[in-house]
């Protein structure tokens, strides 16, 4: 059945956008429910942005607060850049979920609850003395909809010959159906998905189908729901689209880069949250000549990455902050060997083991300085889930053009968050040209390209060019070991200049908003979306503010200094204690205002808007 078929028996209102948070026990399938609504809304033409929030890594007892799993989805008629600040709608499948998330629900927001889950036992697990549903305040503060979701699901599946537990597990589809009705979404996409997913278990498929439809009907028929909202779709850029998260986008980006250069991809990694999925994805793409190595630790992963790069493959190693610590010595070797490879850091909350499943941007200075001696390398950061794809490719372009290891910084928020992604056409992509010298006569291992200062990517197997490279200081351009003062000075300068020259090959920094203004909000990484939205809204209120986003953190774009000069104030929001701010201030002596956040959560638009107002007040 499709939304159009359902008679609009009720009042209908149109909305610009909705932020909905599905929240329940790890076992309740909230991630699934959320992603179904995501796809359906996207297919409908809405722009979407999501923020899954998994429980801490160890599985917690069912019904406990620690076991709450959430999935926040923001869908809109217009272009959006964040998963939304606070939800307009909260779906709470049990007391723990309610307790954890109620304070985030907007005043008078829609609150849908599976009242069947509010047993004395579950209430106790969530730490409620009394049943919050009995508190009239709840109904007055929010549009409360207690729904006997489990019971209604079981009734709907009465006929089916399935275990009680299996039937009960369908209640997430019942809830999804109800939400579909509430926001007038068609069921087709989910129905098809169910058929595909459970093709081998027709009974289960049937059960989920029925639950979904029952939920939808319940919305239509129940008095409780007086209004049906619609968020009309907007047609995005023409093309074929899909939903993608940052980790898959990065994985696809690496494969694409290798394909553009007609090279094999070697990915060596040791599993670590939140980077592990990149390994999982790539291990499934061997048919693209992807070779994944799961090493014994991160040191081995970095060593293997160097070996693979030396051999001529497109080489990546991925990890998170603690793994970067372990790789740091070998990263220094890669800097010394001047070999092209990419190091991916999907950042998480620190320090130490910290908050493995939470997001943060506090490893920027580690990437810049976390090695002994002066060991410069280019650093890029992705701005959104989809941007992880482009950043991965750009990182390889730089790595092979300048023959250097390149850092790519992602974040848990980008890695697990998702957004619509326009599938690129390969024809439109510029191939990556790689040269390997093969003419032995007069060759020198550390001879350099005049424009980039990059040394050449000489491959073992090339006759007559046998030579040994290593981590000791060298005599330019022969690369022979040398501790001579002038050689060390020259090599340090060359390594620094080589990286600095990357700036000649990257785009200048662009601003959104006025070219000159009172305030510039400067961001990097996943903070882009919230800042952009905040600046746009402030702009709409006539504030003199612009936004610029740095994909390239080392070296900075050539025009950065001049650009900063065009604004009275500079605000730098980042999920750390002021790392980019230190670099900007130290480099350009600009009194940039740091806006740090260390809560394991991305910035909300409102937080940045408020700070903008303060600075402009």
């Amino acid at each position: 059945m499709s939304a159009s078929m359902s008679a609009p028996a009720k009042k209908r209102e149109q909305l610009e956008q909705v932020t909905i948070l599905f929240s329940g026990d790890s076992g309740d399938g909230m991630q699934l429910t959320g992603s179904q609504l995501t796809t359906t809304s996207a297919v409908l033409g809405n722009d979407v942005s999501t923020l899954p929030d998994y429980p801490s890594e160890i599985r917690a007892p069912a019904g406990s607060v620690a076991g709450v799993s959430g999935f926040q989805l923001h869908f809109s008629h217009q272009e959006i850049h964040t998963p939304g600040d606070n939800p307009d709608v909260l779906v709470a499948m049990n007391p723990a979920a309610l307790r954890t998330n109620l304070q985030r629900l907007l005043p008078n927001g829609v609150l849908i609850i599976d009242q069947d889950a509010f047993s004395a036992r579950n209430l106790a697990k969530a730490g409620y003395e009394e049943n919050p549903l009995d508190d009239p305040a709840l109904g007055s503060r929010y549009q409360l909809h207690p729904v006997p979701a489990t019971t209604l699901t079981l009734n709907a599946l009465e006929g089916l010959d399935l275990k009680h537990t299996v039937k009960a597990r369908c209640k997430n589809f019942f809830t999804l159906g109800l939400v579909y009705w509430l926001y007038e979404r068609p069921l087709e996409q989910s129905l098809e998905w169910i058929d595909k997913k459970f093709s081998r278990m027709p009974l289960v498929a049937e059960a989920n189908r029925l639950a979904l439809q029952a939920g939808y009907h319940y919305g239509e028929t129940s008095e409780a729901f007086a209004v049906q909202w619609t968020v009309p779709g907007a047609r995005g850029e023409a093309g074929t689209w899909r939903i993608i998260n940052g980790n898959e986008a990065a994985a696809l980006g690496f494969v694409t880069a290798a394909q553009l250069a007609d090279k094999p991809l070697v990915y060596s990694s040791y599993p670590i949250t939140p980077a592990t999925d990149v390994l999982n994805h790539l291990s499934r793409w061997k048919h693209m000549d992807v070779r994944t190595i799961q090493t014994e630790d991160e040191i081995a992963a970095m060593g293997s990455a160097i070996g693979a790069a030396y051999g001529g493959a497109f080489s990546v190693t991925g990890t998170s902050g603690p793994g970067i610590c372990l790789k740091s010595e070998a990263i220094g070797l890669a800097v010394m060997l001047e070999l092209p490879l990419v190091i991916l850091n999907v950042q998480r909350g620190g320090p130490s083991t910290g908050l493995p499943t939470k997001t943060e941007q506090a490893d920027l200075l580690q990437a810049m300085f976390g090695r002994n001696g002066e060991s410069p390398l280019p650093i890029l950061a992705a701005a959104s889930p989809g941007d992880c794809f482009d950043t991965a490719i750009e990182a390889f372009r730089i790595a092979v053009r300048h023959n250097t290891p390149v850092f790519v910084l992602s974040e848990g928020y980008l890695a697990n968050g998702s957004e619509p992604w326009r599938i690129p056409s390969l024809q439109d992509m510029e191939p990556i040209v790689v040269r390997h010298p093969a003419d032995p006569d007069g060759f020198q291992p550390y001879a350099r390209d005049a424009a980039t200062l990059a040394r050449h990517w000489i491959l073992p197997g090339t006759p007559g060019m046998e030579h040994c490279i290593g981590g000791l200081e060298k005599h330019p351009p022969t690369g022979a070991v040398s501790y001579a003062p002038e050689d060390h000075e020259a090599m340090c300068q060359l390594r620094a200049d080589k990286v600095a020259r990357v700036a000649d090959f990257i785009p200048e920094l662009e601003v959104t908003g006025p070219n000159e203004a009172t305030l510039l909000v400067l961001t990097w990484g996943g903070t882009c979306g919230a800042a952009l939205t905040a600046v746009q809204r402030a702009g709409e209120r006539g504030r003199s503010v612009a936004h610029a986003h740095l994909r390239y953190l080392n070296p900075f774009p050539r025009n950065l200094e001049a650009l900063l000069g065009r604004y009275e104030k500079v605000l730098i929001p980042e999920l750390n204690a002021g790392q980019l701010a230190l670099l900007i201030r130290g480099r350009f002596l600009v009194d940039a205002v740091s806006f740090p956040k260390l809560r394991g959560q991305p910035f909300t638009v409102r937080e940045i808007e408020a700070r903008i107002e303060e600075l402009l007040a």
């Binding site: 023409a238 394909q259 094999p264 693209m288 630790d297 293997s304 160097i306 040994c468 070991v481």
Partner: protein
Amino acid sequence: MNSEQSPVKLTRKDFTSSQDVRWCPGCGNNAILAQMQKTLPELGVPRENIVIISGIGCSSRFPYYMNTYGIHSIHGRAPTLAMGLKAARPELQVWVVTGDGDALAIGGNHLTHALRRNVDINILLFNNRIYGLTKGQYSPTSRIGARTSSSPDGSIENPVNPVGIAIGSEASFIARTVDIFQKHMSQVLRRSADHRGAALVEIAQNCIIFNDATWGDITDPDNRHDHVLYLEHGKPMRFGKQGEKGIRLNGLRPEVVRVADVGEENLLVHDERASEPTLAYLLSRMGPPDFPTPLGVFRAIDKPVYSQLLSEQVHRAQTEKAADLDALFRQGETWDVT
């Protein structure tokens, strides 16, 4: 490690680099270098297809002196670079040169994992039972009680035995030779090169400066014969000037016997291909004072090779599925906007 043959006839000179050798005069490393430069040409592998990767240490200066491709990497990590290189270029012949500290202290874990994965590389472990480059601290193979610059009152650490570690790591090829035993070393090196999979060769090496004569019992020409047991596959284990002594098994305990007394037929017979490494393990325990030190190939078995399995999985996937990037992009739900 087996490697595609090639017609070129190379000589020792072809493998000698222009760098002048900077080991102490009389260092065992010089003898090992000479044997490698003599042996590699005989393998018929084009020079450019040979890569030697080392860590840090006196021993790890090795690749500078070989006119092949080489990487002088960082301390203890050479096997990891070798694994990555083989993943990218399975056809290359890769050697790892390492020391007892490089391989067994800081690098112990990588050694274990390279061996158990059976990555197709040759690992030469120069064991001088000391940290040479840092000027003489005890190493994981130094004897307990060893007085060194960092153990003035004697080391309190029980040493490990590289062969024992290799067996614990399920290595498929394990051998031992001695820096100054030229012929023997060259045979062992050739065996190692011909082995498919990870090969560990322990080379007893003398550090004349910081640990002179640590291998004196087996290198001293006079009574060498009484202290060395040359392992030969299928042969009874005899040693001594006239091979008058032998090793017999008593339950699980080896014992030294005079062949005349017990008869050769009752001696333990070496079987380097035994599927179970128990014999190799038992041999790894033999040494002074009660037993001769076994030299030669302890173990050489066929076993799935990591670098090969990796290529096979990739090739299988490539034959089963077209390399269609666009299809990869389109995984999962897609929709069109026109």
